[in-house]
């Protein structure tokens, strides 16, 4: 499976090893980390809900699209589900290709598509004790809207 969901900590070294190939001169890795703030609120932890049957199927499509579109050799993505603490890795994308340009582009494509197409949701748990779902349109309208509590 080029796209997988994990409820345990992501093993970065193992993930990179999957895409290592002697014909590839470039290996690009994106790691999405849980950060401690979002929109002025102190985040304590993050909770990811994933609907696996569709996420895995659609995630696999995204990877195949990236390989086809950018001509890279190998690509994978692992996304966490469940409760994550600050500093944990929520998602990893690894891409290898003969040259770096397409590896960077494919990596970007995969994470961008993963963020907008897959049935994955995150709930931020704040130090204040409140928790709320992220990226809800109505939440945004009410002034609570934000993206993240995580990387980028």
């Amino acid at each position: 499976m080029k796209f997988s969901v994990s409820n345990t900590a992501i093993d970065v070294a193992a993930a990179k090893k999957v895409v290592v190939d002697k014909s590839c001169g470039a290996l690009v890795v994106f790691e999405g980390w849980i950060r401690d703030h979002n929109d002025g609120q102190a985040v304590e932890r993050l909770e990811y809900e994933v609907y696996r049957p569709v996420a895995e199927k659609e995630g696999e499509k995204i990877i195949d699209e990236a390989i086809e579109r950018f001509g890279v050799s190998h690509a994978l993505c692992i996304h966490r589900e469940g409760l994550l603490e600050l500093g944990e890795i929520a998602v990893i994308v690894c891409v290898s290709s003969p040259h770096r340009s397409e590896a960077f582009e494919a990596c970007r494509y995969i994470i961008d598509q993963t963020k907008t197409r897959l049935p994955i949701w995150k709930k931020e748990h704040y130090l204040s004790g409140i928790s709320e779902w992220v990226n809800c349109e109505h939440c945004a309208a009410a002034g609570h809207g934000h993206e993240g509590g995580q990387h980028e």
Binding site: Y51, K57, T116, N135
Partner: protein
């Protein structure tokens, strides 16, 4: 006809249940959601919401068939 509505994340909180089987006159996925929103006052229409039918991503204008399981996804936030 009968269809099953399944809710996730925020929609599950708003609907107050994970899923329900509904007997209705039939129509598109969008119309089915509209019916559910009328039934559950807290269920809000989100422009960025997505829908899947029988575990396949689908368009909101897809006409439903008898027995289809319709998955209502609130705006996603992966990564």
């Amino acid at each position: 006809m009968k269809n099953t509505a399944r809710y996730f994340a925020l929609f599950r909180d708003q609907a107050g249940c994970e899923s329900e089987v509904v007997e209705w006159s039939g129509g598109t996925a969008a119309e089915f959601f509209q019916l559910m929103a009328e039934k559950h006052a807290s269920l809000t229409t989100e422009a960025a919401a997505l829908v899947a039918i029988n575990d396949e991503m689908a368009g909101w204008e897809t006409p439903l068939l008898e027995g289809d399981e319709v998955l209502f996804f609130p705006p996603v936030a992966g990564g």
